[in-house]
């Protein structure tokens, strides 16, 4: 085969391969959404994180504003210390609350942030003071059963 034709075909192959990588990165992966760009991190302590995993989304009003980057056990307070990475463009007041919520009935868990009314905003590395743990199904059921039992007692005495 001629030299120039060979170069042409190899060039086409390399271009196609690189194009496939770019397609994978931008169309399939999350290169275009969060992950790139300026971010800052916040911390939050939860009594129970349920099934929260690293890389889970952080949402506010349903919009993804960041990701969970690290989950550790805080041995001083026996809580879970969750590190959140938030988009630089998004700022939250100091009295905002973080809660662990579930998308759908069986969906993945994510961290939801409800903005507060404080004038001061969170700075990088701050701790979100007001948190709400994940709902544990067993606790919910036992609470419901105790409530029912407590309601049932006076009725029986009547």
């Amino acid at each position: 085969m001629q030299r120039s034709m060979l170069d042409l075909w190899v060039g086409l192959f390399v271009i196609a391969g690189l194009a496939a990588l770019v397609v994978l990165a931008f169309k399939v992966g999350n290169m275009s959404s969060t992950g790139a760009g300026e971010t800052y991190s916040l911390q939050a302590n939860f009594d129970n994180i349920g099934g929260l995993k690293p890389r889970a989304p952080v949402k506010s009003a349903g919009v993804v504003v960041g990701r969970v980057t690290r989950i550790e056990f805080n041995n001083d307070r026996f809580t879970a210390k969750v590190t959140l990475t938030i988009n630089k463009a998004v700022q939250f007041p100091k009295d905002s609350t973080a809660a662990i919520l579930t998308s759908g009935l069986l969906g993945e868990q994510y961290v939801g942030i409800d903005g507060g009314g404080d004038g001061e905003m969170f700075k990088a590395g701050d701790n979100i003071r007001l948190t709400q743990s994940a709902v544990v199904l067993e606790k919910l059921i036992s609470q419901f059963m105790f409530d029912k039992a407590a309601q049932g007692q006076p009725n029986a005495q009547k």
Partner: protein
């Protein structure tokens, strides 16, 4: 009786020693190839020629099989997911299984049988027809001139082929899932984008394919270089290339996967 036992034990021992010897020779061969790579890295036209044979000519089989694998994945995945009413994560299923596993692994298996066997046969035949010896007579190092360019071409083309396979597979999954079955297009892409991580999934897939490329070309080149210079020797070496490199790919895949995706 005792004599027969001792002779069979010594035959087994001889086999083990032979295997260790071959492995040592293969490692020395690999190091020699890396040391002699400067010549072909200074003259990229040598690598470009091999890229044509290993990469461009493998493109058609990679693209077609990628398309079909993606289509089958979407079809099978849909059947299972629809029973749980979660067919909207079909895109995630197709993309993750292709990018993490099937893309690098199947592309590597195809590469081993398409390009690896050709490499072994070519070098084995060059040896059998004493072309390598003739090169040495002309003071041209056959490792620098013949082996090293093929090694670098295999190493470069493997990740590109794996990426092509994955991209084509996802396109095939899109055709079956969205166009034919009618999964919602928006959730197909958006769920996929939120689940697939560039560094965690795509980059690890690329790393896998580079490792597979090194393993396959190493085995193929060594088998060719080490082949007995007969017709039977070359055919046996070609068979061994495909068998050994396929096993190496699957074994390495398990090891790499257990390192990369540890319960994230």
């Amino acid at each position: 009786m005792l004599h027969r036992l001792s002779s069979s034990v010594s035959a087994l021992g001889a086999q083990v020693i032979d295997m260790v010897l071959r492995l040592g020779y293969a490692t020395r061969f690999m190091l020699l190839t890396l040391r002699q790579s400067t010549t072909c890295l200074m003259r990229p036209s040598l690598i470009v020629r091999e890229l044509y044979y290993t990469g461009t000519l493998s493109m058609v089989i990679i693209l077609v099989s990628g398309l079909f694998v993606g289509m089958v994945l979407a079809l099978q995945g849909y059947q299972t997911l629809v029973t749980y009413g979660s067919e909207s994560v079909l895109g995630v299923l197709v993309a993750l299984s292709l990018v993490r596993e099937l893309g690098p692994v199947i592309a590597a298996l195809l590469f081993a049988s398409r390009a690896g066997s050709a490499m072994t046969a070519e070098i084995g035949l060059m040896k059998a027809t004493e072309q390598l010896a003739a090169m040495e007579m002309m003071a041209v190092d056959p490792i620098a001139r013949v082996v090293a360019p093929r090694f670098w071409a295999g190493l470069l083309s493997m990740p590109l082929l794996a990426a092509l396979f994955s991209a084509m597979g996802i396109f095939g999954g899109y055709i079956v899932g969205v166009v034919l079955i009618g999964v919602d297009e928006g959730s197909f892409w958006s769920q996929m984008q939120s689940a697939v991580d560039v560094r965690e999934d795509i980059l690890n897939g690329v790393i896998k394919s580079v490792v597979f490329g090194i393993a396959i070309t190493w085995i193929a080149l060594f088998e060719g270089y080490d082949a007995p210079p007969t017709a039977e020797g070359v055919s046996g070496a070609t068979t061994r290339t495909v068998v050994t490199s396929s096993l190496a790919v699957l074994g390495l895949d398990f090891i790499l996967t257990s390192f990369m995706f540890r319960g994230v």
